[in-house]
């Protein structure tokens, strides 16, 4: 058996085991879920140790015929980019389980259902990053909507079922456009090199430019909905406000990365010429997202809405880095995905604890937390600083790489994008000032600080944020060769540095 397949199948196995446990015993179910997800984390780290950084081809490959009539294979394999995203997923899941220990108790359904959905989702997250067969990717891409839909609708709060439906319909719409493109590329492959869904082979197709542009758009719109770029973003704040903090972490931290990952893996790799054609438009959309997300974030009173809009701004940076088509931009964007995953996780988890304690999600209700619950406030502060890319914290490195990578090709976009950093200072510092400092808001006097479970859950996230700020090399070493390969195989070379006398 292939180690990658085993890692991917483990969560499913755990979901089945939890399904067999007795229904009432929530504590047992939670412990099994925590144990299983931790084992999966260790297994994925073990997988990473066996990964050969020097190689840029897919590793741990396995291919089994699945639907032979269409030449569809269950084909998996990882390169540097997919590996770091798989690690991001498997590390975040046990943290989510531990951090939101009691969130599933008040849901519409039992805790058992909650953890089964989380674990099924984990299998699909690993699958979507590991798939090297286009059809298999699509299956994971669409099928993963269903557990998320039930997680939001069944365990969220507020307008949860409306938010869940909005999320599902937006994603399905994008997915179906992508399906039309997948059918197109499948048929073209059938005419040119014989029917296949193998990514490496599909990349060799010669497609006429009109068709290529249309096929590209089918993919790109699907991914731009997933990693929401303005104007496809409106589902995200609603979903993030309604979902439980844990679900939001997985949604913004991992699932939305499927969109940006897809842009790298499919849009650029399969349609390099169309990518070139649409780059100016996409760069503009990215810059608009950066600024729009930032301005909207400044205006938010709801803390979850704030985090959602900051994410839209960050996705703008990531997309800009990807479509700058420089190796620095590409590496930076990939690193950004990981860093954003961790800093958003920290923000959402802490915000979730704050909301649960205070029973309100309005930012101004949290005044004075710094004095009352110093540990919680400090954690939030660090996560917030990471989000605004303070040097020394993780996001700084990636944001810097993205801006440098973009500047070499699109200096204007990079300069305008830099404004986003200034705005980030506003949207993070104002809430921190309101929520953490200032006079104690009424009702906050008796709030309790983080308990042991919460400390254990948040500690690794904060540790990663700081460590990646000072020493991102191990992760960049994984990413760089693949990022370089993506850029060069798409036919781009990094612009030479200009020396001005």
């Amino acid at each position: 058996m292939n180690l990658l397949t085993i890692v991917g199948a483990l969560p499913l196995l755990a979901a089945i085991i939890i399904g067999l446990l007795p229904k009432g015993n929530n504590e047992l179910i939670k412990r099994v879920a925590l144990g299983a997800t931790s084992v999966i984390t260790i297994a994925s780290i073990f997988l990473a140790t066996g990964f050969d950084k020097a190689q840029t081809a897919f590793q741990f490959v396995q291919s089994i015929s699945w639907i032979s009539a269409f030449k569809i294979n269950f084909a998996v394999g990882i390169d540097g980019i997919s590996l770091v995203l798989i690690l991001l997923s498997t590390i975040l899941v046990p943290i989510v389980v531990l951090a939101t220990w009691n969130d599933s108790d008040t849901g519409r359904w039992s805790s058992k259902t909650f953890y089964m959905l989380i674990l099924i989702l984990e299998t699909m997250m690993i699958g979507v990053f590991a798939a090297t067969d286009l059809f298999l990717f699509y299956v994971f891409f669409e099928a993963m909507l269903i557990p998320v839909y039930f997680l939001i609708g069944g365990f969220g709060s507020g307008e949860k079922s409306a938010a869940a439906v909005k999320f599902l319909l937006y994603s399905l719409f994008g997915g179906l456009l992508m399906l039309a493109s997948i059918i197109g590329i499948y048929v073209i492959a059938g005419n040119q090199i014989g029917a296949t869904f193998d990514l490496t082979q599909l990349a060799t197709l010669q497609i006429d430019s009109t068709t290529e542009n249309l096929l590209f758009l089918g993919f790109f719109i699907a991914f731009a909905i997933k990693a929401p770029l303005v104007p496809f973003h409106t589902w995200l704040p609603d979903a993030a406000k309604s979902a439980t903090p844990g679900t939001s972490v997985l949604l913004l931290g991992v699932l939305d990365k499927v969109g940006t990952y897809g842009m790298i893996r499919f849009c650029i790799a399969l349609f390099p010429d169309a990518s070139k054609t649409f780059t100016p438009l996409i760069i503009v959309l990215s810059v608009v997202s950066i600024l729009y997300g930032a301005f909207m974030a400044i205006g938010q009173r709801n803390i979850k809405g704030l985090i959602a809009f900051t994410s839209i701004s960050h996705f703008g940076f990531i997309t800009m880095g990807i479509f700058a088509m420089t190796s620095q931009g590409m590496s930076g964007a990939t690193l950004y995905m990981v860093n954003h995953g961790f800093s958003t996780a920290a923000l959402f988890l802490i915000a979730g604890w704050m909301i649960k304690r205070r029973n309100s999600s309005t930012i101004s209700d949290f005044g004075g937390l710094q004095r009352i619950t110093p540990l919680m406030a400090w954690s939030f502060f660090i996560a917030g600083m990471s989000s605004l890319a303070l040097p020394g914290l993780s996001s700084f490195v990636s944001e810097f790489l993205v801006l440098v990578g973009t500047y070499t090709r699109y200096p204007v976009a990079a300069i305008v994008g830099t404004l986003g950093i200034v705005l980030a200072a506003l949207y993070i510092l104002i809430p921190i000032q309101k929520a953490l400092h200032g006079p104690t808001a009424p009702g906050n006097e008796s709030l309790t600080d983080l308990n042991l479970r919460e400390k254990i859950a948040i500690a690794p996230v904060i540790a990663v944020i700081i460590a990646m700020g000072f020493y991102p090399k191990p992760v960049l070493d994984l990413i760089n060769p693949t990022a370089q390969r993506v850029v060069t195989t798409a036919g781009f070379t990094d612009p030479a540095a200009k020396v001005v006398k």
Partner: protein, 504 residues
């Protein structure tokens, strides 16, 4: 001197067994007392369907254009369609056997004392079994008929019993009778159109044989106006049966009024038979003039997909909603005809099977959801079903997701197959409209899931009756097949590809 026609009995045996079974059940209706009638009828029905399946398996590699002189053609695709009809009928009959859904005495006026008396004395209308078998026999003949006259006879043989069956609902009888009458009248119209078209095709080619027509087209000797009119009118007759827009208006009323198990049977098997015949006529008979009919069918497919998906959104009744959904699916299936290639035929065969199985299971589940006054099809009363009957609600959600074409369901594989076949012949517009209307359709399927799972039940809650063993076998069998078609579609896809072959 008259020469007796030569019949190839072994090739015809699957149909003859069903017809024989139907005749025996008529006799039983006359000679066996009420107490034992239903059981015997059911046994004979199941027996003849099973026997027919066994026979069909025996002749699976045989083919002949002269199975019954020149009127019946037995070929790979025909055998696959017959097999699909039989398997679907086998599942459907287990649900139909649940007499609870049928009127006790159809001749009694609704609400009369005669009716009350019939209910009290435990009367049963066991004629449903012979009617059912005749319908199945007609459906088996329809896709293998190779001349227009046989085609017309088969059309009537399966339609007439369905008109009657549609009117036999136990509750809301007036609605049911209205549906039956509407179905009958519109059906009669469409039959007339079909016959009219056949006359034109005869006028063009001088023959009623489908192969003969294709030869005449190849020779190009006939009058072009006749062939166009013939194509249009014959298509109208058949498109009525598959409920393509604008010939769909009977569908919602009949689906709603007919007894639910009959609706399931009709929705699944009529589509198989009628699409089988459409495929044969267009692939074998009219493929030579595809430039003439392809734009027409493409347009109808597009209108059908969009109309079915959009109008389904406004429905508040689950049976009506599934009726519009079946209209949308007819549009998807028409893409398989437009494709006009081997992939299109194979995809259509797969799609018909997958859709049929899921449809029968869905209507089987609907028949279980009741309140004190009987079956509840009003969606507003389905709220909170997920809380009280999680299993039923989950299974029903799965079937809805399959209709919506979410990956890992048979519906998705079918949709992919049929759209990629259509794309191959360059019908890209059809593919784009298809995926967009799938996106619209997803909305109303998902709304049902929301109602079942995310909305709190009101006071007038519905309950799920404990299904009989028969229904349980039928529904769980159909659901297992649906799940298998999503996870491992290879077997059926490969079979469909092998069987995707019409002989000319």
């Amino acid at each position: 001197m008259l020469v007796a026609p030569t019949l190839n009995y072994s090739l015809l045996s699957p149909m003859l067994i069903i017809l024989g079974g139907a005749l025996i059940t008529v006799l039983i209706e006359a000679f066996v007392g009420l107490a034992h009638r239903a059981v015997i009828q059911l046994t004979i029905t199941i027996g003849s369907i099973s026997l027919s399946l066994v026979q069909l398996w025996g002749i699976r590699d045989k083919f002949s254009t002269k199975a019954a002189v020149g009127s019946v053609v037995i070929d790979k695709a025909g055998i696959f369609l017959q097999g699909t009809t039989l398997i679907l009928a086998l599942i459907a009959v287990l649900l139909i056997a649940d007499q609870e859904n049928f009127v006790s005495k159809a001749s009694a006026i609704p609400g009369s004392s005669e009716e009350a008396q019939a209910i009290n004395s435990g009367d049963k209308q066991t004629e449903i079994f012979p009617l059912f078998l005749f319908a199945v026999a007609g459906m088996m003949l329809f896709p293998v008929a190779s001349d227009l006259i046989t085609l017309f006879v088969a059309l009537e043989v399966f339609s007439l019993p369905l008109y009657l069956l549609a009117g036999l609902s136990r509750r809301r009888r007036l609605l049911s009778q209205e549906a039956a009458l509407k179905y009958f009248l519109l059906g009669a119209y469409s039959s007339a159109f079909f016959l009219f078209g056949s006359a034109f095709l005869y006028g063009y080619s001088g023959t009623v044989s489908i192969t003969g027509i294709s030869k005449a087209i190849a020779a190009g000797a006939g009058n072009d106006v006749f062939i166009m009119l013939g194509i249009i009118f014959v298509s109208v007759g058949l498109l009525f049966k598959v409920s393509a827009v604008p010939f769909h208006s009977w569908t919602p009323d009949v689906y709603q009024g007919a007894p639910t198990p009959i609706t399931g049977f009709m929705a699944a098997c009529t589509k198989v038979a009628a699409f089988g015949a459409l495929l044969r006529i267009f692939y074998v008979g009219l493929s030579g003039v595809y430039t003439e009919w392809r734009p027409i069918i493409t347009t109808i497919a597009i209108i059908t997909m969009i109309f079915g998906s959009v109008v389904a959104i406004a429905q508040r009744d689950i049976k009506r909603m599934l009726a519009y959904s079946s209209i949308a699916h007819a549009g998807f299936l028409l893409s398989g005809i437009v494709a006009l290639n081997k992939d299109g035929l194979a995809a259509s065969l797969f799609y018909l099977f997958a859709y049929g199985v899921a449809t029968i299971a869905a209507f089987g589940i609907i028949s279980l959801i009741r309140d004190s006054a009987g079956e509840v099809t009003d969606l507003n009363q389905w709220v909170g079903l997920g809380k009280r009957s999680p299993l039923i609600a989950t299974v029903f959600s799965f079937l809805l997701l399959s209709f919506a074409g979410i990956p890992l369901t048979g519906g998705f594989v079918g949709k992919f197959a049929i759209f990629s076949a259509a794309y191959k012949t360059g019908n890209i517009g059809l593919v784009v409209v298809g995926v967009l209307s799938s996106a619209i359709a997803a909305f109303f399927y998902i709304r049902v899931i929301i109602m079942m799972f995310f909305t709190d039940p009101g006071h007038d809650a519905v309950s799920v009756v404990i299904p009989t063993v028969r229904s349980r076998i039928a529904i769980s069998g159909a659901v297992v097949i649906s799940i298998a078609l999503g996870l491992a579609p290879s077997f059926l896809l490969n079979t469909a590809t092998t069987f995707a072959n019409f002989i000319k």
